[in-house]
Amino acid sequence: GESVGLHLPTLSVQEGDNSIINCAYSNSASDYFIWYKQESGKGPQFIIDIRSNMDKRQGQRVTVLLNKTVKHLSLQIAATQPGDSAVYFCAERGTGSARQLTFGSGTQLTVLP
């Protein structure tokens, strides 16, 4: 079946460095993508989204890049801070009537002091 997956399960970065988290998706019909952050014991929290008609979208300290040719999504976090330590999930939304999200496996980001 269609799935969304992540390249790396863990990522450690030094505080102040930039982080890049990658995601591969396989459903070419998906038209909307979201990055969520999940802290321990909490629900997924929206970070940034992008529609399939865009290549790049920027937020505060975060940028999402979408490469539809290779079905790849990335999340860039600038000047990573200790509070950024969490699990990051990409999610895709298909075009079916239910419009549910399909989540990837998640990447654990650890920010080192």
């Binding site: 038209d31 969520y36 909490k42 079916g96 009537s97 239910a98 419009r99 549910q100």
Partner: protein, 113 residues
């Protein structure tokens, strides 16, 4: 800021017992979902609810599961006869329409003993 609220935060139940997990989605949202997350794994789609009926369900959502939106405010997930493997975090989510994110509650941790 509007939020999705879930109760209880933690539920412990004996195998074979029925449990009801409760959610209050964001009031003007149209689509409602239940997701499950087994410890350390990704967030898995269970069921979507739109226009007062189930619009899609996953393979996980078998006859032991049911959902209701009894009063236009609450959204419940019932597991009729819990099994050990039902132990997980259960997240309720809602979204309005179009290209907007789904908002997640903080989850109910279900422990089946």
């Amino acid at each position: 800021e509007p939020e999705v609220t879930q109760t209880p935060s933690h539920q412990v139940t004996q195998m074979g017992q029925e449990v009801i997990l409760r959610c209050v989605p964001i009031s003007n949202h149209l689509y409602f979902y239940w997701y499950r997350q087994i410890l350390g794994q990704k967030v898995e789609f269970l069921v979507s609810f739109y226009n007062n009926e189930i619009s899609e369900k996953s393979e996980i959502f078998d006859d032991q599961f049911s959902v209701e939106r009894p009063d236009g405010s609450n959204f419940t997930l019932k597991i009729r006869s819990t099994k050990l493997e039902d132990s997980a975090m259960y997240f309720c989510a809602s979204f309005s329409q179009g290209y907007t994110e789904a908002f997640f509650g903080q989850g109910t941790r279900l422990t089946v003993v």
